[in-house]
Amino acid sequence: MSENKIYFKFDGKTYGGNKGDTIAAALLRNNVKLVGRSFKYHRPRGIYTCGIEEPNALFQIINEHNEPNVRATVKKIYEGMVVKSQNRWPSLKKDLGSINNLLSPMFSAGFYYKTFMGPKGFWKNVYEPLIRRTAGLGKPPKEFKSKSIHLHHNVDILIVGGGLSGLLAAKKLAGTQYDVLLVERENVLGGVLKNTKKIKSINDQDSSDWIEKTQRLLENSNNIKILKNTMVTTYNFNNHLIALEDKSVGKPQDNNKPELVLHKIRTKHTVLANGHIERFVSFRNNDLPGVMLAASFEKYIHRYGVVPDENPVIFTNNSSTFGLVKSLVDLGHRPKAYVDARDQKKIEKETLNLLIKYNIPLYAKSEIEGCDGKNGIQKVSVRVKKNEIIKIKTSMLCVSGGFNPDIHLFTQSKGLIKWDDSFFTFRPDKPFQSTITLGSVSGNFSYQKTVDEINKKLSFLDGVNDLELKLDINGSEKFQIKELWETKHAKKSLWSKSFIDLQNDVTTKDLKQAVLEGFNRIEHLKRFTTNSMGTDQGKISSVNALGIVSKILKKNISEVGTTIYRPPYTPISFGAIAGRSTYEFYDPERKTPIHPWHIKNNVVFEDVGQWKRPWYFKKHNSETMYEAVQRESKQTRESAGILDGSTLGKIEIKGGDALTFVNLMYTNSFTKMKPMSGRYGLMLGEDGMVKDDGIVCKISDQHFIVTTTTGGAANVLSHMEEYAQTEWPNMKVYMNSITEQFSTFNISGPKSRIIMGRVFTNVDFSNEKFPFMTFKFVDYLDAQVRILRASFTGEVGYEIYVPPKHALKLWERIFYFSKDVELVPYGTETMHLLRAEKGYILVGQDTDGTVTPIDLNLNWMIGKKKKDFIGKRSLTRSDIIRGDRKQLVGLVPINKTYGIEEGQQVIEEEDLSTPIKKPIKMLGHVTSSYFSPTLNQCVAMALVKGGNRKIGSQLFVSTSNLNTIAVEVVTPNFVDPKNERLTS
């Protein structure tokens, strides 16, 4: 056991790996080939690649997150890591789900759309629960508190990718005037330089030395910042990009540090140097464990020092696999065979020389027909001539079908791509934003051309010198490729499969079937077959699908087109996106100055917007909400109650034209209103619908203070600002929110007058000296308090506006002077009940944006002589004056022992027994309903079609179990209809 080894568990067994190993590299080091079971068919699967494009090796990491679908080829091991394979039961080797493979002819393309149709009830009770249990690959993570943060960057140039091109571009910009950010997804710089030995030397140095030297140069430059372990996932408009940094690479989560950082980068120019991805070839059983991409195999050798297999068979259609052969023979290994789809004449000299030198059998102009084995490759079938197939025993097959420039980010930026016939791939063409592509992502696969490309494409920058570089390459850079997307099966069989999407188990047969069924547009094909819709987005295979489809449709690939590549490029956890905005940090909590008193007095809070409002108070721990609300309501009407109304919006309006402005904003006329008085005001939208209500207080014609609903405060102020700025900019009026500048108490009840007199001894609260709807300014301590005589409970009441610094003390003082009077604190629920008893509307409950003041029988609030106000013209629109509009009425159950519920539908039918013979007309619904402790029965308000004409008649409300309750339609004013208590 080596000291440098890191030990981890995979499916219960302990393995040792090296520091810096990914899980995949460590497993390959231990000769583990079987790592998963495929999504649909539960076929055995192995590690296919060495990077972010991995389709098969997805694991669940067992820790406080239980993160599913982690790519083994990306996640680095740490000591004690616990890893589990997914989608198999009871084990990887013996998975019961493999029965799906036997049944596979039924699961072809479009299966989801054609099945699970019946019988009735089966979807809800049988299919859905079953599908939920078996669908997906991993198990969902446990709930946890995300420890992710967001960081913002504003730079001149963003370089995506720290490989050869990215490093050279950064080197060119070092010491210049530009702020540069270089982002690299691996934990080390170098990119492809670390994956192959193609480059012998750079400026006569070993490439590793050159990378280190360049990194030091960049780190010492003042204008270059490097981010490692950071993956650019999203390219938005205006050169705004998102990158995800993993802060815990190679180590477990640190509870005191952020685990993920979401970088939000705004840049002037983006340099994409994010490289290329190798693609596979489809042949029979191209998904067996033991099939791996050739460049990935090479990457395991050079980056991790792992040789997945010493004698693989190599299958290629292009020049790149020379590197793989050389890497193996340099280590003393020997590929079992070299199968090349190209003519021997087309194969490069250096490859042929190697094969001859090391006695490696060459099969030119040949292809792999398929491979066979149980839980892994045991032999491959090589088609050497049209009908001649030879079998070769092997446990690994390396495949190269060509290379695709990694154009996802480029197309996300809305750049256009075009088809390249020399590489049989798409390459970037016309950028939409300031996007520069360098290196293989731009379709430049020649290392020698790299420097010229960088100098040319960055020549538009100021004060930047040309780069010079000496590159020594192993072998030639001549690239030859033969177009090859799939090979034919030797025998026709229902069960033989060649895969086009490994993660979603889509076969080439599915593609063909989809076209047969009429899905010949690529976007339809994608969705019908689910090709490239997995977490890997079909990175190693989506161009192959286009190749195959283009042959079936007999079109050019550029005519077939591609589907839209959507962000994110690789999976981002929701935790990273949420950042710190979770749990108690999701939304600010707004509290009034009385908050601590509420808590001491057994309050239950309700969220109104961001505010914590008292909902009700519990007199003792076992009191239910219903009991509390009944008690609070009764006591308010019998003695006195007090509500913390600090959350309601308050807006101060000032200016020479303030009166004109207020007259335009509200339905009422405030011209003749006396100073120091208030009026209940209605605010409409331009469509005539009730938008908000409040009390408008006039201090003078140039100075008003208005209130709004709690939830409407910001909207009302914005509404006012919009009109003042855009419609009447010449009016001399300005307004400001003073919601938080004053705390508001609403005290009402027959005894409220007495209490007020005790608290404010200098004020005469008699009816004559302090009439209803007037206000006074009163000195209090070192400030001023405003007292308005108004209430919305139907009892005598007052609103006190006090600066926050004195609010809690004043509240407590009020209670001090009320000890013998039974003053009860009440919350929003009681407030609603008391309002409902009086038929006072609650904007947003009894109105919903489709209700006019006429519908509410509030015509008296409309200033008759006013020429204009917002919404006035709409009140005479034909739709507003039609007689069958819903109007606000009161409802009481005819049998007083029954209760009505908010939301119940108002109908004419008494009997709702099924089957219902004809459609039931819905006349309206119940908007508010409460059991009144004062009247000992339920009272409700409802919006009912033609309601005014129905007053005095009987209707019904329907209950959720299809019963009905008979109700009488009445005017909505239940308690003290003559308002005698209010104005006494």
């Binding site: 705004r266 256009l416 550029s558």
Partner: protein, 117 residues
């Protein structure tokens, strides 16, 4: 996610602003004199072109001032920002990229990843 150059505060992220719909839709000076149809069109109907669009924005999380902008709705490029009361810039001053009958621009819209000849 683009940026908008607020005429009062300078260049800021789009998320600081709220869109205010079509610009230069004047409220009828005398609402009583217009027909139901004209009034309803003022209240409910706004243009919705693909291409050059004159619109309003308000800097909600900033100065709270309203201003105008000319934006290409198919590419989301903000071509010009101007204050309330300033003369709106003439449309022929902008490179109008609408080429096809249904107005598809050359780049940056919908399913046109592959260059069409």
């Amino acid at each position: 996610m683009f940026t908008i150059n607020c005429p009062y505060c300078g260049e800021r992220d789009q998320c600081e602003f709220s869109n205010g719909g079509e610009a230069h839709v004047a409220r009828p000076k005398d609402p009583d004199q217009v027909s139901d149809r004209e009034w309803s069109e003022y209240v409910f109907v706004r243009a919705n072109p693909k291409g050059i669009y004159y619109e309003r924005w308000v800097h909600t999380h900033g100065c709270k001032k309203w201003f105008n902008a000319v934006r290409n709705t198919s590419t989301d490029e903000i071509l010009k920002v101007y204050r309330l009361g300033e003369t709106p810039p003439a449309i022929k001053g902008f490179k109008n990229t609408l080429k096809s009958p249904s107005g598809e621009p050359e780049v940056g819209s919908g399913n046109f990843t592959v260059k069409k000849s």
